[in-house]
């Protein structure tokens, strides 16, 4: 296999490097730090012609990123978890300015309790911000998605920022072979950034991000962001075709795995989808007609592609690596909504919550998932949200609680 062994973080840095970005405002946070360290090094030694500036917070970082984009620079940045939330206010600003920058989010579960390992409550919190979202399964896909992200973002039909998401630890610190595209071909794929509506300069003064008074003006501009985001579906398809032509790798807004004759389909995102594919193989060996649908693009929501993949199935299980307390899995809601009008919608839609805070999902848990999903399909009634959590984990947890409680008063 060609390529080099590299982590997801390094692949992200390579994406920014090959995209020939101009500017990288940065702020460190685990597990994203490697990305900005690599970029800082490359810029310092001249391998990249960008300016890296360490900011005082992610809030400042996103402001600088958006403002530099609004000035006409191609901008890259990266963050994670609490950092994304600290920058949150700016996500809406940057999309409102229509600045097509790319932000890598290295998913990490949110405090409290504070932890380091991934789930997707961080990135999904940003789903209404106007940022497009591409979620990657492999280190290769991280790199490729960043290149595609710039092309889609900078398309005049779109002009919106993009978050490329990768899982902390499971991709960020995990090495696997990554093929590095040829810089010349990347230039062919990604034309220079020359936006018509951005660029502060003496000869073309303008005001951007101005206040608006009244709901009708606001409605108009917010709706424009929606239309722009929807346009990204077409822009993605065009970019994917061109990417395939130049680099021989074909990406869709969703990816189907062994779907052709699948009765029951598991829906997943990000790095754990690799585990899900293995679970599909295992289920197939047991004679189950199982398949997997991986959502790659979360915003815009590829409703048609999802419907095409899921109508006519017996049962669909959405494995959310996130939890909306008081509601359940976030993607489950969206899948349910987009299947509702289909006459041939699955007989059962099941919601599973797994991998919170990076918790492993074992083969046995996947097996249980397929079993319960199949039963639900036969019954014709969905289930969930079901937390993937094992007996063994629960008994370990009980032990920890004993330790945390400490000795009881009076030895009782």
């Amino acid at each position: 296999m060609d390529g080099e062994m590299m982590t997801g973080n390094l692949a992200a840095a390579w994406g920014a490097r090959l995209a020939d970005v101009d500017y990288v405002p940065a702020f460190p946070i685990t597990p994203q730090t490697e990305i900005i360290e690599a970029l800082a090094k490359w810029c310092e030694n001249g391998q990249m012609a960008a300016r890296v500036v360490t900011m005082d917070s992610e809030h400042s970082m996103m402001t600088a990123a958006g403002a530099a984009g609004a000035t006409g620079a191609r901008v890259f940045s990266a963050t994670s978890s609490q950092g994304l939330l600290h920058a949150f206010e700016l996500l809406y600003s940057v999309s409102g300015w229509r600045v097509p920058l790319v932000l890598v989010n290295v998913s990490r579960a949110l405090a409290a309790p504070i932890t380091l390992e991934p789930d997707h409550n961080d990135v999904l919190a940003a789903r209404d911000s106007g940022f497009l979202q591409i979620h990657a399964e492999t280190c290769q896909e991280v790199l490729d998605s960043i290149l595609m992200a710039y092309r889609i973002a900078e398309d005049e039909r779109v002009m919106l920022p993009v978050i490329v998401n990768l899982d902390g630890f499971y991709l960020s610190f995990t090495r696997e072979p990554v093929s590095i595209p040829d810089a010349g071909q990347v230039r062919e794929f990604l034309p220079p950034f020359r936006p018509a509506h951005l660029g502060f300069r003496a000869s073309a003064p303008h005001a951007l991000g101005t206040a608006v008074l009244g709901g009708s003006i606001y409605s108009y501009f917010r709706h424009q962001i929606h239309l722009a985001s929807m346009n990204a579906l077409e822009a993605h398809e065009e970019a994917a075709l061109e990417f395939n032509r130049l680099f021989g790798r074909r990406y869709g807004v969703v990816e189907g795995y062994r779907l052709e004759d699948a009765e029951d389909v598991l829906v997943m995102t990000n790095a754990f989808a690799s585990k899900g594919k293995a679970a599909v193989d295992a289920a197939r060996e047991e004679g189950r007609r199982a398949g997997l649908l991986r959502l790659r693009m979360i915003r815009p929501w590829p409703a048609d592609a999802i419907r095409r993949a899921l109508v006519g199935r017996r049962a669909v299980a959405v494995l959310d690596q996130n939890l909306s307390p008081g509601q359940g899995g976030i993607l489950f809601q969206e899948i349910g909504a987009c299947l509702y009008h289909e006459p041939l919608r699955p007989r059962a839609l099941c919601s599973f919550i797994g991998g919170l805070g990076g918790k492993n999902i074992s083969e046995g848990e996947f097996r249980a998932t397929f079993e319960q999903t199949a039963e639900a399909g036969i019954r014709g009634k969905g289930i969930g949200p079901v937390l993937l959590y094992t007996e063994a984990e629960h008994s370990e947890m009980t032990q920890l609680q004993v330790l945390a409680a400490g000795p009881r008063p009076n030895g009782s």
Binding site: M159, A207, G209, T210, A211, L213, I217, Y220, F221, L227
Partner: protein, 305 residues
């Protein structure tokens, strides 16, 4: 339901007036609702506030699109498209204008027949309070009278609302006396509150995508705020007495809005389309060459561009 819409300029007291009427109606046992529009209002900028009065629960909120009564605290707002004073006004609507002109003169000016009434509240305020400022109590009293609320409840409502603003008892009493005068003096016009024709379903227009140079809140027309006139904010205008001017530039230097320019021979030229009437130039003028003149509708100064 009675729906009263107040139009004023920030600082005139339209919001408090809406509350005075709301409280007065509440005190009389009606179901009442009042609310302001919060926008960019600054002292002098157009603002609106709303009071609804009914015997049954009120199933509406926000702006009043079809007012029974419109109370206009400042007639210069009528020609300000941003203020939308005449929106939803039909032949049944009663329009009250704070104006020195007669109802007939005003009706001719805005081409409406019959249902206009007027009183010069600014003059009342100047005489009784000795300065310009909020006329909320007077607006409230007039509106209360027009919709048939009792004087006593208006009196009590003024007391409550102005106390809520932290005004001293002596000031509140002064307002109550002036308000009573306006309550009695305003010419009453009978209300017509017949049911409104129910409009048909609105034709929706879903906008298409436009490139972001148009599709985002971006302004590339430099310094186009000049298109927005703020001259109507004034109660007083600075007027130059040319013989007294010594050409010192102070008025030009201190004008916050930059509406004064100096001619080659150092005489100030005031842009009345934009002068907000803050009086800084009048205060600063060392030779008293700039004097404050009360704006009066219909006079030459009013329409001067």
């Amino acid at each position: 339901m009675l729906a009263i819409r107040f139009h004023g300029r920030g600082g005139q007291g339209a919001k408090t007036a809406s509350r005075i009427v709301g409280t007065a109606a509440f005190l009389e046992g009606f179901v009442a609702q009042d609310s302001p529009i919060y926008g960019a209002e600054r002292r002098g900028a157009p603002v609106a506030a709303f009071t609804r009065i009914a015997r049954e629960p009120i199933r509406e909120r926000g702006i009043i699109a079809h007012p029974t009564v419109v109370v206009v605290a400042d007639t210069s707002l009528i020609s300000d498209p941003a203020a939308r004073v005449l929106d939803g006004v039909d032949e049944k609507t009663v329009l009250f204008m704070n104006s020195s002109l007669s109802a007939e003169q005003l009706a001719t000016q805005i081409s409406l027949s019959g249902r206009v009434t007027a009183l010069d509240l600014t003059e009342v305020a100047l005489q009784r309070f000795g300065k310009r400022g909020a006329i909320s109590a007077l607006l409230g009293a007039v509106a209360g009278r027009l919709v048939g609320l009792r004087q006593e409840s208006i009196h009590e409502a003024i007391s409550r609302e102005l106390a809520d603003l932290g005004l001293a008892p002596s000031v509140i009493e002064q307002n109550q006396v002036a308000a009573r005068h306006c309550y009695d003096a305003v010419p009453v016009v009978a209300l017509e509150t017949g049911s409104r024709r129910v409009p048909g379903s609105t034709r929706l227009r879903i906008p298409n995508y436009e490139p972001p140079s148009r599709g985002t809140a971006r302004i590339s027309a430099a310094a186009n705020s000049l298109l927005r006139e703020t001259g109507g904010w004034r109660t007083f205008r600075p007027v130059l007495v040319p013989d007294k001017c010594n050409g010192c530039w102070l008025c030009f230097v201190y004008c916050p809005d930059g509406v004064i320019s100096m001619t080659k021979d150092d005489r100030p030229v005031i842009d009345y389309d934009h002068c907000k009437g803050c009086q800084i130039c009048v205060q600063e003028c060392p030779t008293r060459a700039l004097v404050a003149e009360r704006e009066k509708e219909g006079e030459a100064a009013w329409t001067a561009k």
